[in-house]
């Protein structure tokens, strides 16, 4: 593609961003209002997936408990609303901070293990958080907790437009992607990939490998918590199922479908998976089937994910 259309690959993300920004304005003309909410959900899940991609794809940490941090974020919002907080920024910010603290504690223990053990221990911690949420009667326990009044965005934002929350989510998602891309090319990003590719050599080079991994794990946990906070606002409802282990697994599947360790892997995987799910549900109750087939197809024909496939098409072999 770039040979024929130089610069397209570089401009494409901006084009997509512009389209996404314009979507709520043009959707009514095509009768697609319903899908504004859908795209908003895709964006929020993509934020969570991007944070998982950061530790899985760049850091080589196959965490199977990422939904736990999403849950911590969501329940932080619930707890603050219950306590009378109405500022969205305060609630979402706290969601990120608290999830980051949980990630620090969980990571400090989990990162002493590797491979399958790491997968199992992160899963175990996330399940503990899940059952903790089930036991919290104040916040609805198993039945969940409804957020009946939307959080206030403050100043001129509230009531400026019916879709203000959509643009806020889009801006946050764009900022998160820009940040992760930037970090990927920094000293820290290079060091993190080094740990993924050859941990023993990194140790021998003098890198504090454990601390490097923990920093990435905490950052990813905080961003997942932010996504959880946004998701709580999006659904106006939070229940323990948000951090069921299948949600963690689904997030892993979406990242790998898109391409772990690829800049656009997470959003591509999330968009592809959720769109197919949405479309297939229109036709059949058995929508898991075709999605399973798609997954098999990707595993066998594009094990590096869809992003890698597209990059190869575009002639940017090995680009990250």
């Amino acid at each position: 593609m770039p040979e024929r259309f130089p610069g397209l690959a570089r401009r494409l993300p901006w084009l997509v961003l512009a389209l996404l920004a314009a979507f709520p304005l043009i959707a009514p003309a095509f009768g697609l209002e319903y899908y504004v909410g859908f795209v908003r959900r895709v964006l929020i899940v993509a934020i969570a997936a991007a944070s998982l991609n950061f530790i899985l794809g760049y850091g080589g940490m196959a965490a199977l408990g990422h939904a736990g941090f999403i849950g911590v974020g969501a329940y932080t919002v619930v707890a603050l609303v219950e306590a009378g907080v109405s500022s969205a920024w305060l609630a979402w910010g706290s969601a990120a901070v608290l999830a980051g603290l949980f990630a620090a504690a969980i990571g400090a223990v989990s990162l002493r293990t590797r491979g399958v053990y790491f997968i199992m221990i992160t899963l175990a911690f996330a399940q503990m958080l899940h059952y903790l949420a089930v036991s919290l009667r104040t916040y609805g326990g198993d039945d969940g907790y409804g957020l009946y009044t939307p959080l206030a965005l403050g100043a001129w934002l509230d009531g400026a437009h019916a879709q203000v929350f959509y643009w806020v989510v889009l801006a946050i998602a764009a900022a998160v992607f820009a940040l992760f891309s930037r970090v990927a090319h920094s000293r820290y990003g290079h060091a993190l990939r080094g740990v993924r590719d050859n941990e023993t050599r990194m140790v021998a080079l003098g890198y504090p490998v454990y601390r490097l991994k923990l920093a990435g794990f905490v950052a990813a946990g905080a961003v997942a918590g932010l996504a959880g906070g946004l998701l709580a606002s999006h659904n106006a409802f939070v229940s323990p199922s948000i951090m069921h282990w299948t949600q963690s697994a689904l997030l892993l599947v979406m990242v790998m479908l898109g391409g772990a360790g690829r800049r656009w892997g997470a959003p591509l995987g999330v968009a592809l998976w959720l769109t197919l799910e949405e479309v297939l549900k229109l036709y059949t109750d058995y929508w898991h089937w075709p999605l399973g087939l798609l997954l098999l197809l990707v595993v066998f024909h594009a094990p590096q994910g869809v992003a890698a496939l597209l990059e190869r098409r575009a002639g940017k072999e090995g680009a990250r």
């Binding site: 930037r182 970090v183 090319h185 920094s186 000293r187 820290y188 990003g189 290079h190 060091a191 080094g194 590719d197 050859n198 023993t200 050599r201 990194m202 140790v203 021998a204 080079l205 003098g206 890198y207 504090p208 490998v209 490097l212 920093a215 090995g318």
Partner: protein, 249 residues
């Protein structure tokens, strides 16, 4: 006083005493070779010194500083760098990226996460200088995994040198090399003698006798004897257990 001392190092694997109270000293500027038959515990000893394996007993001192309790990465920072018997490089990255990652570890914080690393001129210059002196300047942009064996070994050495070590542990730097590559490696190692002391583990006896100021012989996890090349060549027991006909013939 010696630059480096290992005292009474012990390592057990179950019932096997892989390292049996080994004491070694390396003087400043010296190349100290460690030889011994397969299974003598040479690689175990290197792993104990570099910290990749925890020792059951003994202590390690570099330049008056006790390193025994330090983690492996802290030992590297304290001036103790190592090479690997099987080249340990970043195979999917270019030689340049390999070297940048190595020099980055020694130049400021690796937690910097917003500025672009490749735009740091000081790092690029150090990486290129390192490539120059290890003979890798021609292959800077090639993927490390596609390099010939001899070049990969040199890259492995370059990565260790980036740490600006006071003591360099070389675990069989000539392993699997042809005579030509071997001679280049010998020249390269000799060129390092001015800036770092070296503990050299090597099977290639020609190389050892060319390079080493002092040689220690390790047998069954124990140091059998230490001395210069003439002492080792003349040592009856060493001939019996290890050198065999190579020297005699």
């Amino acid at each position: 006083m010696s630059l480096f001392r290992a005292e009474g190092l012990v390592k057990r694997f179950g019932g096997l005493l892989a390292t049996d109270h080994v004491s070694l000293a390396v003087e400043a500027g010296e190349i100290h070779a460690l030889i011994g038959p397969n299974g003598a515990g040479k690689s175990t000893l290197v792993n104990l010194i570099s910290g990749l394996l925890p020792a059951d007993a003994g202590r390690i001192v570099l330049d008056g500083v006790e390193l025994t309790a330090l983690t492996p990465h802290a030992r590297t920072r304290a001036g103790l760098a190592r090479c690997f018997q099987i080249s340990s490089v970043f195979r999917n990255d270019s030689v340049r990226d390999n070297l940048l990652l190595a020099v980055q570890a020694q130049a400021g914080s690796s937690f910097r996460c917003l500025s672009r690393r490749d735009a740091e001129h000081a790092l690029q210059e150090r990486a290129e200088a390192l490539a120059q002196r290890t003979g890798l300047a021609e292959v800077l942009e090639r993927n490390a995994g596609t390099l010939a064996h001899g070049l990969q070994k040199r890259l492995d050495l370059a990565l260790a040198l980036a740490a600006r070590p006071r003591l360099l542990l070389l675990d069989e730097p000539m392993a699997g090399m042809g005579p030509e590559d071997s001679q280049q490696m010998v020249a390269l190692i000799r060129g390092l003698a001015g800036e770092t002391a070296i503990l050299l583990i090597e099977h290639d006896m020609d190389a050892v006798f060319q390079l080493a100021d002092r040689i220690s012989v390790l047998v069954y996890g124990k140091v059998l004897t230490s001395g210069d090349a003439a002492h080792i060549k003349g040592h009856a027991e060493v001939q019996a257990v290890y050198l065999g006909t190579e020297v005699a013939g």
